[in-house]
């Protein structure tokens, strides 16, 4: 018999004994627990992102409202014009909001990219 055919036959015969089944009896239960945990985590992340966006817009409108309409003209006396105070406050709020918006967009896009990567790999 040809050498390679004989080798093939022996290996084929040997490999019948190579089955390696999952040795851990409780694997199914533990795996399902992990799946439920993963599901909860994913839901929680999605909820957190929604909440983050909601509070961002809430803060944005509240900030603009406070800066725009609630400054009393005489609160700082006559030395500083009200328009200047308003402008300083609006710039501060805009900087904070832009900073927060950048982080929120970064986080959301990172998650989106990760999802795309997972789908492609």
């Amino acid at each position: 018999m040809d050498n390679s055919v004989k080798e093939e036959k022996i290996v084929k015969s040997l490999m019948k004994h190579s089955r390696a089944d999952m040795p851990f009896q409780d694997f199914d239960e533990r795996m399902m627990d992990l799946i439920y945990k993963e599901e909860r985590q994913q839901k929680s992340i999605r909820r957190d992102i929604r909440m983050a966006w909601m509070f961002f817009f809430l803060g944005l409108f509240l900030g603009l409202f406070i800066a725009g309409f609630t400054i009393e003209p005489d609160i700082f006396g006559d030395n500083i014009p009200t328009q200047t105070i308003n402008m300083i406050l609006q710039i501060c709020i805009a900087v904070v909001l832009l900073f927060q918006l950048d982080r929120l967009l970064g986080f959301s896009s990172k998650r989106w990219r990760l999802k795309q990567y997972k789908q492609s790999s």
Binding site: L14, A20, D28, E39, K118
Partner: protein
């Protein structure tokens, strides 16, 4: 059958994911242990793979069978893990220097349990790629094209690995049988 359960899980019935675990855990473990060579690491690979499957079930388009898609995930996870952990590899002597022909009668002489033990040991001694290809080809009865699809290697590469795997398997089996005979003589 797989499609039905995919629809159920995607429809929100997470409990039905149990079907995939029950159906594919042994295949996944067999593939994972071929690569990582350790039961606990293999279990880790299988767990990660199932979680990945659960999270990406929506992206499964059915271009290949679920089994092929799942195998690809397990193989990727297993190779990622060994890249991280970098296990020690067993050097293989030059193949041509060792007479690899084993008398079939010698193999048939030993008991089934011993055969099984020695095959598992020999598979551990083989490289990850070789033992993976051997298991998929002989045990899962997949053709080289399917293996190439699952591993991302070329068909020609799979054939070369399979050829080397056969040779090396016999080398290691011969070594193990020699050790066994020595043990019998001295003990």
């Amino acid at each position: 059958m797989d499609d039905l359960y995919i629809r159920k899980v995607l429809g929100g019935d997470t409990g039905e994911f149990r079907y995939f675990i029950a159906t594919y855990k042994d295949l996944a473990f067999s593939v994972a242990i071929s690569v990582v060579k350790d039961e606990f690491l293999a279990e880790e690979v299988v767990q990660e793979s199932f979680i990945k499957v659960f999270n990406n079930l929506k992206s499964f388009k059915g271009r290949s069978s679920f089994k092929t898609w799942f195998c690809r995930i397990v193989i990727n996870e297993a190779f990622q893990l060994i890249r991280k952990k970098k296990p020690a590899t067993i050097p293989i002597d030059s193949l041509n220097d060792i007479e690899t022909i084993i008398n079939e009668d010698d193999i048939l002489d030993i008991s089934k349990e011993e055969q099984s033990f020695m095959v598992q040991e020999a598979l551990k001694m083989l490289s990850s790629k070789e033992s993976l290809v051997l298991r998929l080809f002989y045990l899962e009865q997949q053709d080289t094209k399917t293996i190439a699809d699952e591993t991302g290697w070329s068909d020609g590469n799979v054939r070369v690995i399979l050829y080397r795997a056969r040779k090396n398997m016999l080398v290691f089996m011969k070594e193990l049988m020699k050790d066994k005979q020595k043990n019998k003589q001295y003990g």
